[in-house]
Amino acid sequence: MALNLTRLRALLLLPAGMLLLSCCTDPLEEEPVVTTPYQLTIPSNFPQNARIPADNPLTEEGVALGRMLFYEPRLSRDNTLSCGSCHQQSKAFTDGRALAIGVNGARHTRSSMSLVNLAWEPVLNWDGAATTLETQARLPLENPVEMHQLLGEGVRKLQQTDLYPPLFRKAFGSTTITEQNVLKALAQFQRTLISSNSRYDRSLRRELRLTVDEQRGEALYNNHPNPDLSIAGADCMHCHGGPLFTSQSFHNNGLDATFTDPGRKGVTGLAVDNGKFRAPTLRNIELTAPYMHDGRFATLEDVLDHYSDHVKRSSPNIDPLLLDASNTLNGTQLDLTQTQKNQIIAFLRTLTDTTFTRDKRFSDPFKP
């Protein structure tokens, strides 16, 4: 039923759009195209509300085109960088650097974010500067410290190739490439980047059992500590909870007492948002080092040391959860033992999904 409706819509709407173009294009070439709906498999333990805009449904043709554009260096000023340069599949779509590097070696002030399960994200970027994938991609494409090329210029370059005009026609009905359709194709491809086959997921499906240390790490992850009742906890789930392992919101996690990067405040202008950054998903966190918005921590051990022992309690707008959570009676820090830190890291490593990082559907189509 859904498939039939999609085909029907494609047939009905494309001719209407064509009326506008009919004066200047070959009517035979611009006959309506029929696209094939892309079957996105939503994991059963995921929220069922994936965000797919009505005006950009996933199609086989659109996703395939988006994959090529994701790895297309012509979209950068000097034809050297693609999205995939800073978002490498083998590193769960990060780059392994503390701070990203743009064209001509331009230094970014933030770390590349991993790309996973984006169909569920209501806000994107460390500061929530974009709210849809269709608008997000323009930011890195045009940012002077990233790919540094106006999208219009990228469209001009693509239009001059033999490769792209027919692919845009297959996906969107016209060989005339538009900025909107570049953004739509990139968004379609990114929505297919679903990771749900980690050891953790397989344990949920009862295909395997986590080790005792991993299970203890999971309990610490999900517990708020209460030394009065002898409950140990690390309280991770408040900001990294649920099947997506993110609150999808913004927190000051006590890294600094004063801020060099305003984070969320740069978008909202609100003092209350100063120093807050998006809680990133912890899926594949083992592969996305270094950590934090500025890549200041090289290892997961460093991250655990921060949350356990070095939270800046005086930081403005610090999340109150960081002030209350301690494993020591009247303690002022979380105070995890080395064993507890190791157990939490063991659990975090169960979130690594090598099916995802090796999935041929997500790899660079220009490489063998």
């Binding site: 069922q48 909870g241 997506l244 209350v272 959860l321 209350d324």
Partner: protein, 247 residues
């Protein structure tokens, strides 16, 4: 071509017109005493001499019922709403397909009923980000109030109210009469009920909360009792109907 396009626009709208019903919109306004709630550094005085800032205020509203003057009721099916101060859109709850009539009061469950909690799949699906769900006990947090206080030993205030199993059952039914006016639901209309929720009432009420001793329902020795006290407080008058806008 034009005819085809016109057909496709109209043909989708001929399914089951609910001509006999109206709708109701419920708007939640959050206040601290007489002041509007502003998340962040605004400091509010509690009558006791304590003071607080609020960084998060969220709660579940479910099982909404509208009662007519003659005592008959309309129970809104599958009505589950997560209201967050940080999300303006979440503060307006819309009930569709409400039978016309003059309603004299409404009631709702502050929280998520046990049936929904234990039968849903995947678990916690009313809040996929789990900011209002605790996977360890498979319980929803019914109401969350977070902030800071100079009186709190940890500087933090963390009131997470949860639990549907005795003896820690914090589910509370809130009944709100539409005093002085009725809620007129008419075909095709959406009258609005403006509800005010006063956070101070959760901290004063029958069980005054002093932050020097009660500052977290997750840390300390009397966490369950403190959750019950706060639940009784907010059941005793945190919500009231401010006014009704017929339209």
């Amino acid at each position: 071509m034009a005819v085809l396009a016109a057909c496709s626009l109209t043909s989708c709208e001929d399914d089951d017109p609910k001509t006999e019903t109206g709708a109701v919109s419920i708007r939640m306004d959050h206040v601290v005493g007489t002041a509007p709630l502003v998340l962040g550094s605004t400091r509010y005085a509690v009558g006791s001499g304590d003071s607080l800032t609020v960084s998060a205020f969220s709660y579940f509203v479910s099982n909404i019922r509208l009662r007519r003057q003659d005592g008959t009721e309309y129970a809104a099916p599958s009505s589950y709403f997560l209201v967050k101060e940080s999300d303006a859109a979440s503060k307006t709850l819309v009930l569709k397909d409400v039978p016309p009539g003059d309603y004299a009061s409404m009631s709702f469950l502050l929280g998520v009923d046990s049936t929904r909690t234990v039968t849903e799949a995947p678990a916690g699906s009313l809040d996929p980000t789990s900011t209002m769900y605790w996977p360890m006990t498979r319980e929803y947090i019914f109401l969350k109030l977070e902030g800071t206080s100079r009186q709190s030993p940890s500087s933090a205030l963390l009131f997470h109210i949860a639990g549907y199993r005795k003896p820690v059952n914090t589910l509370r039914t809130i009944t709100l009469p539409f005093t002085g006016s009725s809620l007129p639901v008419r075909q095709g209309k959406t009258p609005q009920v403006h509800v005010k929720a006063d956070i101070l009432k959760a901290l004063t009420g029958p069980n005054p909360i002093r932050f020097a001793t009660v500052y977290s329902t997750m840390s300390g020795s009397n966490t369950n009792q403190n959750m019950l006290k706060i639940a009784d407080n907010y059941a005793a008058g945190m919500f009231r109907v401010d006014h009704i806008m017929a339209n």
